[in-house]
Amino acid sequence: MAGIDEAAMGRIFRDNSGRSVATLIRVFGDIDVAEDAVQEAYAVALSKWARDGPPPNPGGWITTTARKRAIDRLRRESRERELLGRMAVSSLGNDDHDIPEETGPVQDDRLRLIFTCCHPALSTEAQVALTLRLLGGLSTEEVARSFLLAEPTMAQRLVRAKHKIKAARIPYRVPADHELPDRLRAVLSVVYLIYNAGLNSPTERGLCAEAIRLGRLLSTLMPDEPEVAGLLALLVLTEARRASRIRADGSLVVLGEQDRSRWDRTAIEEGQRIVRWCLRRNQPGPYQLQAAINAVHADAATVEDTDWSQIVALYDQLLAVAPTPVVALNRAVAIGEAHGPEAALALVHELDLENYYPFHATRADLLRRLGRESEAAAAYARAAALAPTDAERDFLRRGGRGHRP
């Protein structure tokens, strides 16, 4: 039988470790025990599979092996009376049987795990780190690198978060219906944060793929939640345009100047299909509306072909459910396209976004279109001074053309 190389092993690990860890946390009621056992099982698999090739169900093999390892270890440490006592009754006495794969309860474990990782009693930073570590299967070093932190700092953050889960007894369960909307918002925002961390970092593109994987997992686990589908559509549609969004030198390309032939049509079709499903559900929320706006952009062969009145209508809805100045600014940009720069500028001037660089970039663009060149130049300078990355600063110093994507 053919062996398996380390890259293939890495893929198997990424695809399966979250499920194994989630199952073992339920069985042993302890995150550290679960993580260590799954790590050990992969170490065993690496040498065994390199020789014999992987078993037909690698994920199931890992979970079973990890569970045996964990029980052995708990016995060795003679803590079995204390910890084995906490094990779920169903898992006792059948050490040698495979855990059934892809059935309801197994999937629920990952859902439980993501709600625990994203519990509001944990800081947002801890929620993101735990989700990437436990569900994404990233190593502590990879998580640290993603957020430009030293590994010991990230390790400390993870240890503290896991200690809080245990000490404060943050529950391992899917929230009850009445809590679900709030708690789900936290989960979706963590996935969205992970995507944006990847989008805004030239070196950590892997985070975008990880966020989309989490988005797909959530939409498999919660197929009836429109906002879950909306987030997935938003990520898929944003990802479809990512390659055309950044030049080789790292500078940003605004939507109007993007090479639309480089947009990923397959991804766009998937995103639009999900958006249509959301429209049929007719329970709009912020992610669905942002996805719908992206879907309209993706429909247009050129920026001039864009159905701006449709985009304005979607921003009206978005502003109703998410009344933030940033949404109002984006709506003003759409008004500028639909009804001209004068109408947009009047709206922009009502906003209090003095320290938000896209505010100044938008003002600059509108002023330039109105022929008010010196005011435009001052606004570009203000925007450039506030821009967070070199790419954005360069773009603005060039007196950026078009509007922000």
């Binding site: 519990h119 009693a121 390790a155 240890v159 200690h163 404060a168 943050i170 529950p171 809590e179």
Partner: protein, 123 residues
């Protein structure tokens, strides 16, 4: 079951809308109902309200001697005003109770688990 302390924090010198006697009475009634509920469900273990921080005295060992000083230990503007000690199934259950209390009394509440030897940090 985990034991939690719900501590009620008050900010020194914070001017609050003065309550009318009716509101005050209503608020006390609500607290009474809530505490009765906590007692009958078995969650309530102990609770108490404290006098103002000026009534506090601190003792400490300095150069081997006990030193007694007037005033609260922390020089912060926020002080413990009172607390509940409760039993709860998990953090969500404790937070649900704390949410009810904070609604009635209008002051923020810190929810903190009691430590036992089994759950000290490992790393």
């Amino acid at each position: 079951m985990t034991r939690y302390m719900l501590s009620v924090h008050s900010v020194e010198g914070e001017v609050r809308e003065p309550m009318s006697p009716e509101d005050m009475q209503h608020s006390w009634q609500q607290i009474g109902i809530l505490e009765a509920e906590m007692k009958s469900s078995g969650a309530w273990l102990f609770s108490g309200r404290l006098h103002e921080p000026e009534t506090a005295t601190v003792v400490r060992v300095a150069n081997g001697e006990i030193l007694t000083t007037d005033g609260p230990f922390a020089e912060a503007r926020e002080h413990l005003g009172g607390f509940y000690i409760i039993n709860a199934e998990d953090l969500d259950a404790a937070l649900a109770l704390a949410s009810k209390v904070t609604r009635v009394i209008g002051a923020p509440i810190e929810v903190r688990p009691f430590a036992d030897f089994a759950d000290e940090p490992k790393g």
